[in-house]
């Protein structure tokens, strides 16, 4: 059974093309030039019930446009899609009762009111029985630890607190499928981890299917069992996250600052490690985890140098996608 399935899903926007400057604006006013921009190009995809899928891609790859078509917000130019057995743009209302959506940049919470008031409104939007709503609300408040902010106007909440309320609001009506568009954007690592825990817990306890877009490789690693990477509007890779981790997410970025006592010391070559950037005492290293463990690298550095600061990060998602794109190109050329 599929939670969602798409076949050749395509969305084209008509975009005005304007030359730069004031003269360009006048020319555009008198003789506008238009071009067709293919935001999503024939996406074929299927997601099973209960799966957690990361839908990844660089900016402009078509992630948000795809989610908007799958939630019935946008009508596709061509292709088909079924979400929970419903064609989203034909029966948006019926589908909306069964799915939840969080758009990181578009809030459904009332800015000047406490989250509790929005929760009440949402219970009416989804026509929940009063007793059912109250029990569900209290459960989510408990699990998301929202008690301290429930009666504080949303404008006075931190971004992390707001996102927790936002996700709880999207889960009030027990959606079978949850679309999360950049749910951890702008959050600090501690809050990100908390939000990932909460989403994972809902997936396990209620079997909620999760379809997530993110620019954060950490979201993918800790939340999702499958990664779908799109680029230029089409699917570039569709693999289990474990495999992607093994083959693609096998690098970590180490940023370090040597302490002043090291004088003009230069880092020697370390097996499986490449110096990406060196500025004075600051270095950025790329560590290949297939060849060396991160603790070995750190052990060598700490044993030989005084360190003022060190951080270990996942590589930037843009870098990962470039890497996948390069791999695919090589495979294609070899084939």
């Amino acid at each position: 059974m599929f939670a969602l399935r798409t076949n050749g899903l395509t969305k084209t926007f008509r975009v005005k093309r304007k030359q730069p400057g004031l003269a360009g604006s006048f020319r555009s006013l008198l003789k506008p030039a238009w071009e067709e921009k293919e935001a999503v190009r024939g996406i074929d995809l299927s997601v099973a019930h209960g799966e957690t899928v990361a839908f990844l891609g660089p900016n402009g790859a078509g992630k948000s446009t795809t989610i908007k078509m799958l939630t019935g917000i946008l009508h596709p130019t061509s292709g088909d899609a079924e979400v929970l057995g419903i064609v989203p743009w034909k029966d948006r209302n019926r589908l909306a009762f069964r799915i939840g959506a969080v758009f990181g940049q578009k809030s459904q919470l009332w800015y000047h009111l406490p989250p509790m008031d929005t929760f009440d409104l949402i219970s009416r939007v989804y026509e929940m029985r009063r007793s059912d709503y109250l029990a569900r609300r209290d459960d989510l408040i408990d699990r998301f630890e929202l008690g301290p902010y429930l009666h504080t106007p949303v404008r006075k909440l931190s971004l992390g607190e707001r996102m927790r309320c936002e996700i709880a609001a999207s889960m009030l009506h027990r959606p079978q499928l949850l679309f999360l568009d950049e749910p951890t954007i702008g959050l600090d690592p501690v809050v990100k981890a908390r939000i990932r825990d909460l989403i994972r817990e809902r997936n396990r306890s209620e079997g909620t299917t999760v379809f997530l877009t993110s620019h954060d490789a950490g979201d993918v690693e800790s939340l999702c069992s499958r990664a779908v990477v799109i680029h230029h509007g089409g699917v570039l890779l569709d693999e289990p996250v474990e495999k992607v981790k093994r083959e693609v997410l096998s690098r970590k970025t180490v940023k370090l600052t040597l302490s002043e006592s090291n004088g003009a010391a230069r880092l020697p070559p370390i097996a499986g490690t490449r110096i990406v950037r060196a500025e004075g005492r600051r270095y950025q290293l790329s560590v290949d985890l297939k060849r060396t463990a991160i603790d070995e690298v750190l052990g060598q550095l700490i044993g030989r140098f005084g360190l003022e600061d060190v951080t270990v990060e996942d590589p930037d998602l843009e870098e990962i996608i470039k890497h996948i794109y390069g791999m695919k190109k090589e495979t294609g050329e070899a084939g």
């Binding site: 019935g72 940049q105 459904q108 800015y111 009111l113 008031d117 009440d120 306890s205 079997g207």
Partner: protein
């Protein structure tokens, strides 16, 4: 641990509860009542601003009436219109605009909402999109307009039961016509892109024309007033509805409201197919 199947069976029960016209109307009413409650709570978050804005609009309307009072002191009647009629004209226009803006405060912001891609949140919810958009905002200043309309009725209106019923009918038609015209005009944004300025201009013209006695217009201007920009159906109400009830005028006003209402709803629904969304940050306030 509950399973997806259990969730699905929960949804089925929900589906069963949602059948029937009676239930749909009841659910829509409960939703609207909660929307209005939330809007009012949001507006009252800033108590002083709430009172000042509503109060200033009330005063602003009275200042206009004061000018009309000066005018009618020199010319007691203009094309059969007296000060009392102009007062009722302002009462109907401000009162109708007031209730529409308090309960459905987004009606003149449709173009801006569409062109800035702010429909996403409404489209993701299982409610009629237009109703959801309209009821999601309350205009605080318009509360002053509504109170002004009611006060004017008590000062210059016919206080009999018949008079009160006709005044309520007038307010109802005026408010609905304001909404119908602006929804139709705002929905142009789906088809011509950023029509926010155009829609706002039309709104200002329409609003202004509802505050001048329709008797002062002749020929083509009068034709426009009762067709393309149907402000005449509001501005003639003090005569055709309240003073000398004219069934033909009343039927025309109701018919025109229904016509623009149907056109607005039709254009909005057709426009949703062309909606292009956007990436602007959006908060509901």
């Amino acid at each position: 641990m509950s399973t997806g199947a259990e969730c699905a069976s929960g949804s089925l029960r929900e589906d069963e509860r949602r059948t029937g016209l009676g239930h749909s109307a009841g659910a829509a009413l409960r939703f609207l009542l909660t929307c209005w409650k939330v809007n009012l709570a949001s507006a009252m978050e800033y108590r002083l601003s709430f009172v000042l804005l509503a109060g200033m609009m009330f005063l602003n309307n009275f200042i206009w009436l004061f000018f009309w009072h000066l005018f009618f002191e020199r010319f007691p009647a203009v094309q059969g219109w007296e000060l009392r009629d102009v007062m009722m004209l302002w009462g109907i226009s401000a009162g109708g605009f007031g209730w529409a803006s308090v309960l459905f405060g987004n009606f003149h912001r449709i173009a801006s909402i569409v062109s800035s891609g702010q429909l996403d949140v409404y489209l993701a919810q299982p409610k009629p999109v237009l109703l959801n958009v309209l009821a999601s905002r309350m205009s605080v200043t318009a509360a002053g307009d509504f109170v002004f309309g009611v006060v004017i009725y008590f000062l210059a209106g016919d206080l009999s039961l018949r008079g009160a019923m006709l005044f309520v009918l007038g307010l109802l038609i005026a408010g609905l016509l304001f909404m119908a015209v602006m929804v139709a005009a705002g929905s142009a944004a789906f088809f011509v892109g950023n029509s926010e300025g155009l829609s706002q201009q039309l709104f200002n013209i329409f609003l202004a024309l509802t505050t001048y006695p329709s008797g002062i217009f002749r020929g083509f201007a009068k034709l426009m007033l009762f067709t393309i920009v149907p402000a005449g159906f509001i501005s003639y109400m003090p005569i055709g509805l309240l003073r000398d009830f004219d069934p033909a005028f009343a039927a025309g006003a109701i018919g025109m409201t229904l016509l623009f209402g149907a056109a607005g709803i039709g254009l909005f629904r057709a426009g949703l197919r062309r909606y292009a969304s956007g990436n602007a940050l959006a908060m509901r306030s």
